[in-house]
Point group: C2
Chain length 428, copies 2
């Protein structure tokens, strides 16, 4: 057996501890598969004295995280997190020093991926990030390599486990958003400040990474239209179910002649679609290629074991010498593609209005739809237990998003509406 791959590890939180456990537990098997042992040589974290359930006394300890870039390792693994700050400083220092870099940091990649990939190419060292998207699911590899023969038209999926946990709990227990969120926070499934997850930013980071690899286009996180699940109610989930759908937060990227369109938004997913059966904190990604058709990748999207599994898979690829350009092709070969206009996207829509229960409300909504050129497929009005209000749910025929937007604009400020309408896209 040849020389070991020497690894430095920055960040000893749950995933960092998981990486140590994977490398210890499966040591012999990993060495057989990688063709050489993989050894941690140095670590860095905020608190040296904390009990992490793993023994780190055998590794060199560096108080200064950035100093890992100069230690005696072949690869640095970054599990510190944050788009900038120490993580970015470490990435730049490591690649600048000509060492390989493995990260689970989707925020940093969304904002600085192209720069880091260019540094890796210039230094001819690997930059890998399987763990940054969908945890343990090898979807970066699936797109970068498994689907490499295909022009990809769409890549989409359930990319945030916290949102899916909340939505499927709302669905199975008929409870409201705030209630389930509070429980998820108490159980540790949601952060005390949950906005990164529930407002769609985390999913958008991941989507922009998938998009780059799927389409061979430059990273364009700033172009992702981002929405979350904060305004989805128990009533919406129930209405969706009655119509044959489940509510999911879907990150969707599609490429056509008009450009690349990226959006994270609450969607109605038909029961017959595999994403409708993805429950709890599971993630799933669908990609559609011009020869392979539709592929589905599903598994655990977070957690120390699954995320560490993806980090170590990257290390094994590096140990084997099977790691090429991070985005499947050199950054210079990535196409500069304009973002497609959101308004030009076409689809069916779910619109929910809380309305005053009085004469003429329905006529007003119906007229706004008609005047914006939106054709109604079905409409349900229900009395709700709040005095004097009713719920109106509309499913539209396929229309450009701009027309839906115009219809909602016509109704803005109307005395008939109690609160903001909710718009969800319907996945076809």
């Amino acid at each position: 057996m040849t020389t070991a791959l020497r690894v430095a590890l920055a960040g000893l939180g749950t995933v960092g501890g998981g990486v140590i456990r994977v490398l210890e537990t499966n040591r012999e098997l990993i060495a057989r598969r990688a063709g050489r042992p993989i050894e941690i040589v140095a670590v860095s974290a905020r608190d040296r004295t904390k009990d992490r359930g793993v023994d780190v006394s055998g590794y060199e300890w560096l108080d200064d995280t950035t100093a890992l870039a100069r230690c005696d390792a072949d690869v640095v693994v970054e599990l510190v997190g944050g788009a900038d700050g120490p993580a970015l400083a470490l990435a730049r220092a490591t690649l600048g020093a000509g060492k390989g870099f493995v990260t689970a940091n989707k925020a940093m990649l969304a904002h600085h991926g192209a720069e880091l990939a260019e540094m890796a190419e210039a230094a001819r060292v690997p930059l890998k990030f399987e763990a940054a998207v969908a945890g343990g699911i090898p979807v970066i590899k699936g797109l970068r390599e498994g689907m490499a023969a295909n022009a990809v038209s769409r890549v989409y999926g359930i990319l945030n486990g916290t949102c899916n946990f909340i939505l499927s709990k709302m669905e199975s227990e008929g409870r409201d958003f705030g209630d389930v969120l509070a429980e998820a926070q108490a159980l540790g499934f949601a952060e005390s400040d949950p906005s990164f997850d529930i407002d769609g930013v985390d999913a958008a980071h991941k989507l922009s990474i998938l998009s780059t690899i799927a389409f061979g286009t430059r990273p364009a996180f700033a172009d992702v239209a981002i929405g979350g699940i904060r305004n989805v109610t128990a009533a919406d989930v129930a209405e969706a179910e009655a119509l044959g759908y489940r509510v999911r937060l879907v990150g969707m990227a599609q490429a056509d002649a008009s450009g690349v369109f990226q959006r994270v938004h609450a969607h109605l997913v038909p029961h017959a679609h595999p994403l409708a059966h993805v429950t709890g904190s599971t993630n799933a990604v669908v990609a559609e290629g011009n020869f392979v058709g539709r592929l589905l990748f599903q598994g655990a999207g977070a957690g120390d074991g699954p995320t560490a599994s993806a980090v170590v898979a990257d290390l094994i690829d590096i140990a084997r010498g099977e790691a090429g350009p991070p985005y499947a092709m050199p950054v210079a070969a990535l196409a500069e593609v304009a973002p497609a206009a959101a308004g030009a996207q076409r689809g069916r829509a779910y619109l929910r209005f809380a309305v005053a229960d009085r004469v003429g409300v329905l006529a007003e909504i119906a007229a706004a739809m008609r005047d914006a050129g939106v054709s109604i497929e079905s409409l349900i009005q229900r009395a709700v237990p709040v005095e004097g209000t009713a719920l109106v749910v509309i499913v539209t025929h396929e229309a450009p998003d701009a027309h839906i937007e115009a219809a909602l604009e016509r109704l803005r400020g109307s005395q008939s509406l109690a609160g903001e309408p909710l718009w969800m896209h319907i996945l076809d």
Copy 2:
């Protein structure tokens, strides 16, 4: 851009034509992703004059397939088929000549995989076979690389599209096996001699390949216990549905302290399991790792586009220089593991008996179960429209397969039974 990867193609059937179409249609994208162009330089097939819908006039034509091994190519793609004969001769000649080899030939790999992998290692050239299992789904890559950090306990799935097409049609239309098979043959979804598919041999070839990569053990096709779907009736599908299950032909390999167990058999899959929602000719593979948990890979298991997509993905890996040992580790490092005894496997069983409708039949069956130590979870007896017969369906509690076998043995030759009982395993 550097030198092209030069490819010779043996076999110009639907998949061979598909490979040419993929390389032509996505030429520019593939060159960007592979870092160099991929060019077909020579082809060989049985009939030079046949119209294949693709132009092969620009390639060198060799009447002798084996001669491709000596032509001016870096890699030979074999799409001839058959475990031995011309395909095997070509594989040996190609690897012997120090050229890379890509194949979709599961039968050849099941029987000669270890020998060919050793030749590839000795010559330090790639041997790749993504298309041999589950068509376009990158499951070889998913196991070999994506899950490489994990000890895998089970790998299983729907590996034969013809069987799944028949079973899901029986399910949705309430029709009987023979009837649906005849339609599938007329539509070209099943061969005129369908036994390779419906008796489980094709799925067993694929399972033995997955098994080797998942567990790091030597290929052991001879150890696969093989069953098919020929004896599954419309009544079985209906009873399964009533019990909350769907019938699927599942290839299942599991590894534990007692060894590796491989079986292809009709299973009852609970509605809550993702495999229950896999319909038509779609394939799906589940793998369970000790850190990543359960991963699911799903997509088209056959067809010219998907299969060609997998073949070209292998060529792109080779063009990138990202192709290591075929079975993830050198053949010498694969463990020699004894096959686990079939009788020691434990699980719940579905047993269906066609019985004479007379006094004492149920007592006889129940006594056979009791005497073999099999505990009954539920039992249904139904009259059937055939004069004087009834259907008895038993779901057992978990028991060793040897006990079920013993119970059926006790009933063998009984005057109470009309025809062979059917035994299906229940997926947990």
